[in-house]
Protein backbone atom coordinates (compact mmCIF):
# COMPACT_ATOMS: atom_id res chain seq x y z
CA UNK A 1 0.00 0.00 0.00
CA UNK A 2 1.02 3.57 -0.53
CA UNK A 3 1.66 4.43 3.07
CA UNK A 4 2.71 7.89 1.94
CA UNK A 5 5.95 9.34 3.24
CA UNK A 6 6.41 7.13 6.26
CA UNK A 7 9.86 7.76 7.72
CA UNK A 8 11.84 4.56 7.22
CA UNK A 9 13.39 4.62 10.69
CA UNK A 10 10.15 4.71 12.68
CA UNK A 11 8.87 1.42 14.08
CA UNK A 12 5.64 0.40 12.46
CA UNK A 13 2.33 -0.89 13.72
CA UNK A 14 1.70 -3.03 10.68
CA UNK A 15 1.01 -6.08 12.82
CA UNK A 16 -2.64 -5.13 13.36
CA UNK A 17 -5.38 -5.90 10.88
CA UNK A 18 -6.28 -3.02 8.59
CA UNK A 19 -9.53 -1.36 9.69
CA UNK A 20 -9.76 1.55 7.31
CA UNK A 21 -8.07 2.06 3.99
CA UNK A 22 -8.30 5.34 2.07
CA UNK A 23 -7.14 5.14 -1.52
CA UNK A 24 -6.26 8.25 -3.49
CA UNK A 25 -8.99 10.44 -2.00
CA UNK A 26 -9.48 13.66 -3.92
CA UNK A 27 -12.09 16.31 -3.31
CA UNK A 28 -12.93 19.28 -5.51
CA UNK A 29 -15.61 21.74 -4.43
CA UNK A 30 -17.39 23.79 -7.09
CA UNK A 31 -17.12 27.45 -6.25
CA UNK A 32 -17.99 30.47 -8.44
CA UNK A 33 -17.89 28.28 -11.52
CA UNK A 34 -14.35 27.10 -10.79
CA UNK A 35 -13.22 24.04 -8.90
CA UNK A 36 -11.35 24.36 -5.60
CA UNK A 37 -9.24 21.36 -4.75
CA UNK A 38 -9.47 20.58 -1.04
CA UNK A 39 -8.03 17.07 -0.82
CA UNK A 40 -5.30 15.83 -3.09
CA UNK A 41 -4.64 12.11 -3.49
CA UNK A 42 -4.81 11.12 0.16
CA UNK A 43 -3.98 7.52 0.95
CA UNK A 44 -3.91 6.15 4.45
CA UNK A 45 -4.24 2.91 6.37
CA UNK A 46 -5.55 2.71 9.89
CA UNK A 47 -5.17 -0.47 11.91
CA UNK A 48 -7.80 -2.13 14.08
CA UNK A 49 -7.88 -0.48 17.50
CA UNK A 50 -5.40 2.19 16.47
CA UNK A 51 -5.55 5.82 17.60
CA UNK A 52 -4.62 8.08 14.68
CA UNK A 53 -4.48 11.86 14.75
CA UNK A 54 -4.90 13.92 11.60
CA UNK A 55 -2.93 17.08 12.25
CA UNK A 56 -3.02 20.19 10.12
CA UNK A 57 -3.68 23.92 10.13
CA UNK A 58 -7.25 25.22 10.30
CA UNK A 59 -9.02 25.10 6.97
CA UNK A 60 -6.60 22.59 5.44
CA UNK A 61 -9.36 20.11 4.70
CA UNK A 62 -8.78 17.65 7.53
CA UNK A 63 -12.43 17.89 8.56
CA UNK A 64 -13.39 17.16 4.98
CA UNK A 65 -11.33 13.96 4.92
CA UNK A 66 -12.96 12.91 8.19
CA UNK A 67 -16.42 13.56 6.74
CA UNK A 68 -15.49 11.50 3.70
CA UNK A 69 -14.30 8.61 5.88
CA UNK A 70 -17.51 8.77 7.93
CA UNK A 71 -19.61 8.68 4.78
CA UNK A 72 -21.23 12.12 5.07
CA UNK A 73 -19.59 13.37 1.87
CA UNK A 74 -18.72 11.37 -1.24
CA UNK A 75 -15.20 12.09 -2.50
CA UNK A 76 -14.62 13.38 -6.03
CA UNK A 77 -12.13 10.61 -6.62
CA UNK A 78 -10.75 7.63 -4.73
CA UNK A 79 -12.42 5.32 -2.28
CA UNK A 80 -12.58 4.62 1.44
CA UNK A 81 -12.96 1.01 2.55
CA UNK A 82 -13.70 -0.05 6.10
CA UNK A 83 -13.40 -3.77 6.91
CA UNK A 84 -12.93 -4.21 3.18
CA UNK A 85 -16.30 -2.72 2.27
CA UNK A 86 -16.61 0.60 0.43
CA UNK A 87 -18.11 3.41 2.53
CA UNK A 88 -21.36 4.59 0.94
CA UNK A 89 -22.90 6.51 3.81
CA UNK A 90 -22.90 7.08 7.56
CA UNK A 91 -23.22 3.91 9.63
CA UNK A 92 -24.06 3.36 13.31
CA UNK A 93 -21.00 1.08 13.61
CA UNK A 94 -18.88 4.22 13.17
CA UNK A 95 -19.93 7.28 15.10
CA UNK A 96 -18.86 10.82 14.33
CA UNK A 97 -18.37 13.03 17.37
CA UNK A 98 -18.91 16.66 16.52
CA UNK A 99 -17.81 19.39 18.85
CA UNK A 100 -20.41 19.74 21.59
CA UNK A 101 -22.74 21.18 18.91
CA UNK A 102 -24.07 17.71 18.17
CA UNK A 103 -25.80 17.26 21.53
CA UNK A 104 -29.58 17.51 21.13
CA UNK A 105 -30.80 20.42 23.28
CA UNK A 106 -34.31 18.99 23.57
CA UNK A 107 -33.16 15.81 25.30
CA UNK A 108 -31.76 15.35 28.79
CA UNK A 109 -28.33 13.83 29.38
CA UNK A 110 -30.04 10.45 29.66
CA UNK A 111 -32.09 11.03 26.54
CA UNK A 112 -29.01 12.02 24.55
CA UNK A 113 -26.91 9.08 25.68
CA UNK A 114 -29.78 6.69 24.99
CA UNK A 115 -30.51 8.24 21.60
CA UNK A 116 -29.06 5.38 19.56
CA UNK A 117 -30.48 2.66 21.81
CA UNK A 118 -34.15 2.65 20.79
CA UNK A 119 -33.94 -1.00 19.72
CA UNK A 120 -33.04 -2.23 23.20
CA UNK A 121 -35.57 -3.22 25.84
CA UNK A 122 -36.23 -0.47 28.41
CA UNK A 123 -34.23 -2.32 31.08
CA UNK A 124 -31.20 -2.91 28.84
CA UNK A 125 -31.39 0.64 27.61
CA UNK A 126 -31.45 1.98 31.14
CA UNK A 127 -28.54 -0.22 32.16
CA UNK A 128 -26.47 0.87 29.17
CA UNK A 129 -27.23 4.54 29.83
CA UNK A 130 -26.25 4.22 33.48
CA UNK A 131 -22.97 2.53 32.50
CA UNK A 132 -21.94 5.32 30.13
CA UNK A 133 -23.17 8.09 32.40
CA UNK A 134 -20.77 6.67 34.99
CA UNK A 135 -17.97 6.18 32.45
CA UNK A 136 -17.94 9.88 31.58
CA UNK A 137 -18.58 10.94 35.17
CA UNK A 138 -21.97 12.59 34.78
CA UNK A 139 -23.77 10.86 37.66
CA UNK A 140 -26.37 13.18 39.14
CA UNK A 141 -26.90 14.98 35.83
CA UNK A 142 -29.06 12.30 34.16
CA UNK A 143 -32.17 14.51 34.05
CA UNK A 144 -30.34 17.73 33.20
CA UNK A 145 -30.84 19.49 29.87
CA UNK A 146 -27.78 20.54 27.87
CA UNK A 147 -28.41 24.26 28.32
CA UNK A 148 -27.56 23.81 31.99
CA UNK A 149 -24.30 21.92 31.26
CA UNK A 150 -20.83 23.33 30.69
CA UNK A 151 -19.06 22.84 27.38
CA UNK A 152 -16.92 20.04 28.77
CA UNK A 153 -19.94 18.20 30.14
CA UNK A 154 -21.74 18.49 26.80
CA UNK A 155 -18.66 17.10 25.13
CA UNK A 156 -18.71 14.13 27.49
CA UNK A 157 -22.41 13.57 26.75
CA UNK A 158 -21.56 13.37 23.09
CA UNK A 159 -18.71 10.93 23.62
CA UNK A 160 -20.95 8.79 25.85
CA UNK A 161 -23.74 8.83 23.28
CA UNK A 162 -21.27 7.65 20.66
CA UNK A 163 -19.83 4.87 22.85
CA UNK A 164 -23.25 3.68 24.02
CA UNK A 165 -24.08 2.12 20.63
CA UNK A 166 -20.82 0.15 20.88
CA UNK A 167 -19.31 1.27 17.57
CA UNK A 168 -16.04 -0.18 16.22
CA UNK A 169 -14.83 3.26 15.20
CA UNK A 170 -15.00 6.83 16.39
CA UNK A 171 -14.40 9.90 14.27
CA UNK A 172 -13.62 12.93 16.39
CA UNK A 173 -13.51 16.35 14.74
CA UNK A 174 -11.55 18.72 16.98
CA UNK A 175 -13.74 17.54 19.83
CA UNK A 176 -12.00 19.56 22.51
CA UNK A 177 -11.38 22.68 20.46
CA UNK A 178 -14.04 24.74 22.18
CA UNK A 179 -12.98 23.84 25.72
CA UNK A 180 -10.72 25.77 28.07
CA UNK A 181 -7.20 24.42 28.43
CA UNK A 182 -7.73 22.74 31.81
CA UNK A 183 -10.90 20.95 30.75
CA UNK A 184 -9.18 19.99 27.51
CA UNK A 185 -6.36 18.26 29.42
CA UNK A 186 -8.86 16.40 31.59
CA UNK A 187 -10.87 15.34 28.55
CA UNK A 188 -7.74 14.01 26.82
CA UNK A 189 -7.03 11.87 29.85
CA UNK A 190 -10.61 10.60 29.90
CA UNK A 191 -10.57 9.81 26.20
CA UNK A 192 -7.36 7.79 26.61
CA UNK A 193 -8.82 5.98 29.59
CA UNK A 194 -11.96 5.11 27.59
CA UNK A 195 -9.90 4.11 24.57
CA UNK A 196 -7.74 1.80 26.65
CA UNK A 197 -10.86 0.25 28.19
CA UNK A 198 -12.85 -0.18 24.98
CA UNK A 199 -10.16 -0.37 22.26
CA UNK A 200 -12.09 1.37 19.53
CA UNK A 201 -10.37 2.48 16.37
CA UNK A 202 -10.17 6.26 16.69
CA UNK A 203 -9.48 8.88 14.05
CA UNK A 204 -9.02 12.23 15.71
CA UNK A 205 -8.72 15.52 13.85
CA UNK A 206 -6.84 18.35 15.53
CA UNK A 207 -4.74 21.42 14.81
CA UNK A 208 -2.98 21.09 18.18
CA UNK A 209 0.46 19.48 17.91
CA UNK A 210 0.72 18.67 21.61
CA UNK A 211 -2.71 17.11 21.61
CA UNK A 212 -1.74 14.88 18.69
CA UNK A 213 1.54 13.75 20.28
CA UNK A 214 -0.12 13.14 23.66
CA UNK A 215 -2.93 11.00 22.27
CA UNK A 216 -2.02 9.20 19.08
CA UNK A 217 -0.28 5.99 18.09
CA UNK A 218 0.46 7.71 14.82
CA UNK A 219 0.21 11.34 13.76
CA UNK A 220 -0.66 12.07 10.14
CA UNK A 221 0.72 15.51 9.32
CA UNK A 222 -1.31 17.21 6.60
CA UNK A 223 -0.18 20.09 4.42
CA UNK A 224 -2.22 23.23 3.81
CA UNK A 225 -4.91 23.24 1.13
CA UNK A 226 -5.18 21.20 -0.91
CA UNK A 227 -4.50 18.76 1.90
CA UNK A 228 -1.92 16.07 1.26
CA UNK A 229 -0.36 13.60 3.61
CA UNK A 230 2.93 15.28 4.33
CA UNK A 231 4.35 12.83 6.79
CA UNK A 232 3.28 10.07 9.15
CA UNK A 233 4.97 9.98 12.55
CA UNK A 234 4.82 6.97 14.89
CA UNK A 235 4.55 8.00 18.52
CA UNK A 236 6.39 5.15 20.20
CA UNK A 237 5.84 6.18 23.82
CA UNK A 238 3.70 4.12 26.16
CA UNK A 239 0.79 5.68 28.02
CA UNK A 240 0.71 7.51 30.37
CA UNK A 241 3.10 9.76 28.50
CA UNK A 242 5.62 11.98 30.20
CA UNK A 243 5.25 15.22 28.29
CA UNK A 244 8.63 16.50 29.36
CA UNK A 245 10.54 13.37 28.39
CA UNK A 246 13.26 13.71 25.76
CA UNK A 247 11.48 11.33 23.39
CA UNK A 248 8.22 13.29 23.60
CA UNK A 249 9.99 16.57 22.92
CA UNK A 250 11.98 15.20 20.03
CA UNK A 251 8.82 13.76 18.40
CA UNK A 252 7.05 17.05 18.88
CA UNK A 253 9.95 19.01 17.45
CA UNK A 254 10.08 16.61 14.52
CA UNK A 255 6.48 17.44 13.70
CA UNK A 256 7.10 21.16 14.15
CA UNK A 257 9.96 20.80 11.74
CA UNK A 258 7.81 18.97 9.23
CA UNK A 259 5.34 21.83 9.36
CA UNK A 260 8.17 24.32 9.06
CA UNK A 261 7.74 25.96 12.44
CA UNK A 262 10.68 24.58 14.41
CA UNK A 263 12.25 26.92 16.95
CA UNK A 264 10.38 29.98 15.77
CA UNK A 265 7.78 32.22 17.46
Amino acid sequence: MTSAARPASAPTTQARAVKLRADGIGMVFERDGGGVSVLDDISLEVGEGEFVCLLGPSGCGKSTILNVMAGFIAPTSGQVRIDGEPVVGPDPRRIFVFQERGVFPWLTVEGNIGFGLSRLSPEDRQRRIAHYVALVGLQGFEKTYPRDLSGGMKQRVEVARALAVNPDMLFLDEPFGALDSITRLIMRGELLRIWEAERKTIIFVTHDIDEAVQLADRVVVMSARPAKVQRIVDIDIAHPRDISSARYLSLRDGILEAIGLAHKV
Binding site: F72, D91, R101, W106, F115, G116, Y145, R147
Partner: protein
Protein backbone atom coordinates in the same frame (compact mmCIF):
# COMPACT_ATOMS: atom_id res chain seq x y z
CA UNK B 1 -25.83 33.22 24.29
CA UNK B 2 -25.17 33.59 27.97
CA UNK B 3 -26.96 30.90 29.89
CA UNK B 4 -25.29 31.06 33.24
CA UNK B 5 -27.26 33.88 34.80
CA UNK B 6 -30.63 32.46 33.85
CA UNK B 7 -31.73 31.51 37.32
CA UNK B 8 -31.03 34.86 38.87
CA UNK B 9 -32.25 37.02 36.02
CA UNK B 10 -35.84 37.35 37.14
CA UNK B 11 -36.08 37.83 40.89
CA UNK B 12 -39.76 38.78 40.55
CA UNK B 13 -40.73 35.53 38.86
CA UNK B 14 -40.71 33.64 42.13
CA UNK B 15 -42.91 36.18 43.92
CA UNK B 16 -46.23 35.33 42.32
CA UNK B 17 -48.10 37.67 44.65
CA UNK B 18 -46.07 40.61 43.45
CA UNK B 19 -46.38 39.70 39.78
CA UNK B 20 -50.19 39.52 40.07
CA UNK B 21 -50.55 42.54 42.31
CA UNK B 22 -48.67 44.94 40.07
CA UNK B 23 -50.78 44.70 36.90
CA UNK B 24 -53.87 44.23 39.09
CA UNK B 25 -53.32 47.59 40.73
CA UNK B 26 -52.71 49.16 37.36
CA UNK B 27 -55.99 47.83 35.96
CA UNK B 28 -57.85 49.09 39.03
CA UNK B 29 -56.41 52.57 38.57
CA UNK B 30 -57.44 52.54 34.91
CA UNK B 31 -60.98 51.49 35.82
CA UNK B 32 -61.28 54.34 38.30
CA UNK B 33 -59.92 56.81 35.72
CA UNK B 34 -62.39 55.46 33.17
CA UNK B 35 -65.23 55.86 35.65
CA UNK B 36 -64.28 59.46 36.45
CA UNK B 37 -63.81 60.39 32.80
CA UNK B 38 -67.25 59.03 31.91
CA UNK B 39 -68.83 61.08 34.74
CA UNK B 40 -67.58 64.27 33.14
CA UNK B 41 -68.46 63.56 29.50
CA UNK B 42 -71.00 66.03 28.06
CA UNK B 43 -72.13 63.92 25.12
CA UNK B 44 -72.19 60.12 25.45
CA UNK B 45 -68.88 58.82 24.03
CA UNK B 46 -68.45 55.62 25.98
CA UNK B 47 -70.44 53.76 28.65
CA UNK B 48 -68.74 53.64 32.04
CA UNK B 49 -67.31 50.60 33.79
CA UNK B 50 -70.36 50.27 36.01
CA UNK B 51 -72.73 50.13 33.04
CA UNK B 52 -70.46 47.63 31.32
CA UNK B 53 -70.36 45.50 34.46
CA UNK B 54 -74.16 45.58 34.61
CA UNK B 55 -74.32 44.61 30.95
CA UNK B 56 -72.04 41.62 31.57
CA UNK B 57 -74.25 40.59 34.45
CA UNK B 58 -77.35 40.92 32.26
CA UNK B 59 -75.75 38.79 29.55
CA UNK B 60 -74.84 36.21 32.13
CA UNK B 61 -78.37 36.06 33.52
CA UNK B 62 -79.91 35.67 30.06
CA UNK B 63 -77.49 32.78 29.46
CA UNK B 64 -76.03 34.56 26.45
CA UNK B 65 -72.54 35.19 27.82
CA UNK B 66 -71.57 31.54 28.15
CA UNK B 67 -73.39 30.64 24.93
CA UNK B 68 -71.59 33.27 22.85
CA UNK B 69 -68.18 32.58 24.39
CA UNK B 70 -68.57 28.87 23.73
CA UNK B 71 -69.75 29.57 20.18
CA UNK B 72 -66.70 31.72 19.43
CA UNK B 73 -64.25 29.32 21.06
CA UNK B 74 -65.82 26.39 19.20
CA UNK B 75 -65.17 28.05 15.82
CA UNK B 76 -61.63 29.06 16.71
CA UNK B 77 -60.81 25.60 18.05
CA UNK B 78 -61.88 23.74 14.92
CA UNK B 79 -60.51 26.24 12.43
CA UNK B 80 -57.19 26.51 14.28
CA UNK B 81 -56.83 22.78 14.93
CA UNK B 82 -57.60 21.94 11.32
CA UNK B 83 -55.03 24.47 10.14
CA UNK B 84 -52.40 23.13 12.56
CA UNK B 85 -53.03 19.48 11.64
CA UNK B 86 -52.80 20.23 7.93
CA UNK B 87 -50.43 23.21 7.77
CA UNK B 88 -47.63 21.97 10.03
CA UNK B 89 -46.98 18.64 8.23
CA UNK B 90 -47.23 20.39 4.86
CA UNK B 91 -44.85 23.12 6.02
CA UNK B 92 -42.39 20.57 7.42
CA UNK B 93 -42.39 18.62 4.16
CA UNK B 94 -41.98 21.76 2.09
CA UNK B 95 -39.03 22.78 4.23
CA UNK B 96 -37.49 19.31 4.05
CA UNK B 97 -37.77 18.95 0.30
CA UNK B 98 -36.23 22.21 -0.83
CA UNK B 99 -37.40 21.74 -4.38
CA UNK B 100 -41.02 21.60 -3.25
CA UNK B 101 -40.45 24.79 -1.32
CA UNK B 102 -39.16 26.50 -4.45
CA UNK B 103 -42.24 25.38 -6.34
CA UNK B 104 -44.84 26.33 -3.75
CA UNK B 105 -43.30 29.42 -2.22
CA UNK B 106 -44.60 31.91 -4.85
CA UNK B 107 -48.14 30.60 -4.36
CA UNK B 108 -47.84 30.95 -0.57
CA UNK B 109 -46.44 34.44 -0.87
CA UNK B 110 -49.29 35.59 -3.12
CA UNK B 111 -51.99 34.10 -0.88
CA UNK B 112 -50.47 35.39 2.33
CA UNK B 113 -51.19 39.13 1.97
CA UNK B 114 -54.88 38.46 1.20
CA UNK B 115 -56.79 39.15 4.39
CA UNK B 116 -58.92 36.19 5.43
CA UNK B 117 -61.79 38.67 5.62
CA UNK B 118 -61.57 39.15 1.87
CA UNK B 119 -62.65 35.53 1.59
CA UNK B 120 -65.95 36.18 3.40
CA UNK B 121 -68.12 36.44 0.26
CA UNK B 122 -66.60 33.32 -1.24
CA UNK B 123 -66.84 31.47 2.05
CA UNK B 124 -70.55 32.32 2.27
CA UNK B 125 -71.00 31.25 -1.35
CA UNK B 126 -69.42 27.87 -0.56
CA UNK B 127 -70.70 27.16 2.92
CA UNK B 128 -73.72 29.44 3.38
CA UNK B 129 -74.34 31.51 6.50
CA UNK B 130 -73.34 29.41 9.50
CA UNK B 131 -70.62 27.85 11.59
CA UNK B 132 -68.82 26.25 8.70
CA UNK B 133 -68.13 29.60 7.07
CA UNK B 134 -66.64 31.02 10.26
CA UNK B 135 -64.55 27.89 10.82
CA UNK B 136 -63.33 28.05 7.24
CA UNK B 137 -62.28 31.69 7.61
CA UNK B 138 -60.31 30.90 10.77
CA UNK B 139 -58.74 27.94 9.03
CA UNK B 140 -57.65 30.26 6.21
CA UNK B 141 -56.27 32.80 8.65
CA UNK B 142 -54.21 30.15 10.47
CA UNK B 143 -53.18 27.78 7.71
CA UNK B 144 -50.75 29.93 5.75
CA UNK B 145 -48.85 31.43 8.70
CA UNK B 146 -48.44 27.98 10.27
CA UNK B 147 -47.28 26.44 6.99
CA UNK B 148 -44.73 29.19 6.43
CA UNK B 149 -43.50 29.00 10.05
CA UNK B 150 -43.01 25.23 9.84
CA UNK B 151 -41.28 25.56 6.46
CA UNK B 152 -38.81 28.17 7.71
CA UNK B 153 -38.22 26.29 10.95
CA UNK B 154 -37.10 23.18 9.05
CA UNK B 155 -34.83 25.20 6.81
CA UNK B 156 -33.18 26.61 9.94
CA UNK B 157 -32.33 23.27 11.58
CA UNK B 158 -28.55 22.99 12.02
CA UNK B 159 -27.23 20.33 9.66
CA UNK B 160 -25.31 18.70 12.49
CA UNK B 161 -28.55 17.44 14.10
CA UNK B 162 -29.63 15.76 10.89
CA UNK B 163 -26.15 14.27 10.45
CA UNK B 164 -26.23 12.84 13.98
CA UNK B 165 -29.59 11.27 13.20
CA UNK B 166 -28.27 9.73 9.98
CA UNK B 167 -25.13 8.53 11.75
CA UNK B 168 -27.21 6.60 14.27
CA UNK B 169 -28.93 4.84 11.40
CA UNK B 170 -32.37 6.45 11.66
CA UNK B 171 -34.83 5.78 8.88
CA UNK B 172 -36.70 8.69 7.40
CA UNK B 173 -39.80 8.36 9.60
CA UNK B 174 -37.65 8.09 12.75
CA UNK B 175 -35.55 11.05 11.66
CA UNK B 176 -38.67 13.16 11.23
CA UNK B 177 -40.11 12.09 14.57
CA UNK B 178 -36.97 12.16 16.74
CA UNK B 179 -34.92 14.97 15.18
CA UNK B 180 -36.92 17.15 12.81
CA UNK B 181 -39.99 17.55 14.98
CA UNK B 182 -38.28 18.40 18.30
CA UNK B 183 -35.81 20.66 16.51
CA UNK B 184 -38.58 22.86 15.09
CA UNK B 185 -40.77 22.91 18.22
CA UNK B 186 -39.53 26.23 19.66
CA UNK B 187 -40.19 28.04 16.37
CA UNK B 188 -43.47 26.21 15.95
CA UNK B 189 -44.75 27.24 19.38
CA UNK B 190 -44.05 30.89 18.57
CA UNK B 191 -45.89 30.45 15.28
CA UNK B 192 -48.84 28.80 17.03
CA UNK B 193 -49.02 31.62 19.54
CA UNK B 194 -49.04 34.40 16.95
CA UNK B 195 -51.49 32.52 14.77
CA UNK B 196 -53.91 31.83 17.59
CA UNK B 197 -53.97 35.58 18.24
CA UNK B 198 -54.81 36.20 14.60
CA UNK B 199 -57.49 33.50 14.65
CA UNK B 200 -59.10 35.18 17.63
CA UNK B 201 -59.15 38.49 15.74
CA UNK B 202 -60.68 36.87 12.70
CA UNK B 203 -63.45 35.03 14.52
CA UNK B 204 -64.90 38.31 15.75
CA UNK B 205 -64.98 39.76 12.25
CA UNK B 206 -66.37 36.57 10.76
CA UNK B 207 -69.14 36.44 13.34
CA UNK B 208 -70.19 39.99 12.53
CA UNK B 209 -71.16 38.90 9.05
CA UNK B 210 -71.47 35.17 8.68
CA UNK B 211 -73.35 33.87 11.73
CA UNK B 212 -75.87 34.90 14.40
CA UNK B 213 -74.09 33.89 17.57
CA UNK B 214 -70.73 34.51 19.20
CA UNK B 215 -69.01 37.57 20.61
CA UNK B 216 -68.63 39.27 17.23
CA UNK B 217 -72.34 38.84 16.59
CA UNK B 218 -73.07 40.22 20.07
CA UNK B 219 -71.30 43.47 19.26
CA UNK B 220 -73.00 44.02 15.91
CA UNK B 221 -76.37 42.91 17.25
CA UNK B 222 -76.21 45.17 20.32
CA UNK B 223 -75.61 48.17 18.12
CA UNK B 224 -78.24 47.29 15.53
CA UNK B 225 -80.92 46.45 18.11
CA UNK B 226 -81.18 49.75 19.93
CA UNK B 227 -77.67 51.20 20.27
CA UNK B 228 -76.85 49.19 23.41
CA UNK B 229 -73.27 50.43 23.67
CA UNK B 230 -72.91 48.97 27.15
CA UNK B 231 -73.36 45.54 25.55
CA UNK B 232 -70.92 46.46 22.79
CA UNK B 233 -68.20 47.29 25.30
CA UNK B 234 -69.09 44.24 27.39
CA UNK B 235 -68.48 42.13 24.26
CA UNK B 236 -65.15 43.89 23.70
CA UNK B 237 -64.08 43.23 27.27
CA UNK B 238 -64.89 39.54 26.93
CA UNK B 239 -62.93 39.33 23.68
CA UNK B 240 -59.94 40.91 25.38
CA UNK B 241 -60.08 38.68 28.45
CA UNK B 242 -60.44 35.46 26.48
CA UNK B 243 -57.70 36.51 24.06
CA UNK B 244 -55.42 37.05 27.03
CA UNK B 245 -56.27 33.65 28.50
CA UNK B 246 -55.61 31.91 25.18
CA UNK B 247 -52.22 33.60 24.98
CA UNK B 248 -51.33 32.67 28.56
CA UNK B 249 -52.34 29.08 27.84
CA UNK B 250 -50.18 28.71 24.77
CA UNK B 251 -47.28 30.54 26.40
CA UNK B 252 -47.10 27.88 29.07
CA UNK B 253 -45.80 25.61 26.29
CA UNK B 254 -42.76 27.86 26.03
CA UNK B 255 -41.65 26.80 29.49
CA UNK B 256 -41.57 23.08 28.73
CA UNK B 257 -37.87 22.07 29.07
CA UNK B 258 -37.77 20.15 25.80
CA UNK B 259 -38.92 23.33 24.05
CA UNK B 260 -37.49 26.29 25.94
CA UNK B 261 -33.90 25.62 24.81
CA UNK B 262 -34.82 27.46 21.63
CA UNK B 263 -35.40 30.81 23.30
CA UNK B 264 -32.89 33.26 24.63
CA UNK B 265 -33.21 34.19 28.26
CA UNK B 266 -34.63 37.64 28.00
Amino acid sequence: MLRTSRQVNHPLRSGTAVSVLKPGTFVAVLLVAWHIAVKFQRVPILPGPVAVGAALLELGQRGLLLKYVVASLFRVTWGFLGAALLGIPIGLSLGWYRRAELAFNPLLQILRPISPLAWIPIAILWFGVGDLTAVFLIFLASFLPLTVTAMNAVAGIPEVYVNVGRNFGLRRAQLIYTVLYPAVMPQLVIGLRITLGVAWLVVVAAEMIAVNSGLGFLIVDARNAGNRYDLVVAGMVMIGVIGLLLDVGIRSLERVPSINWGYSDD
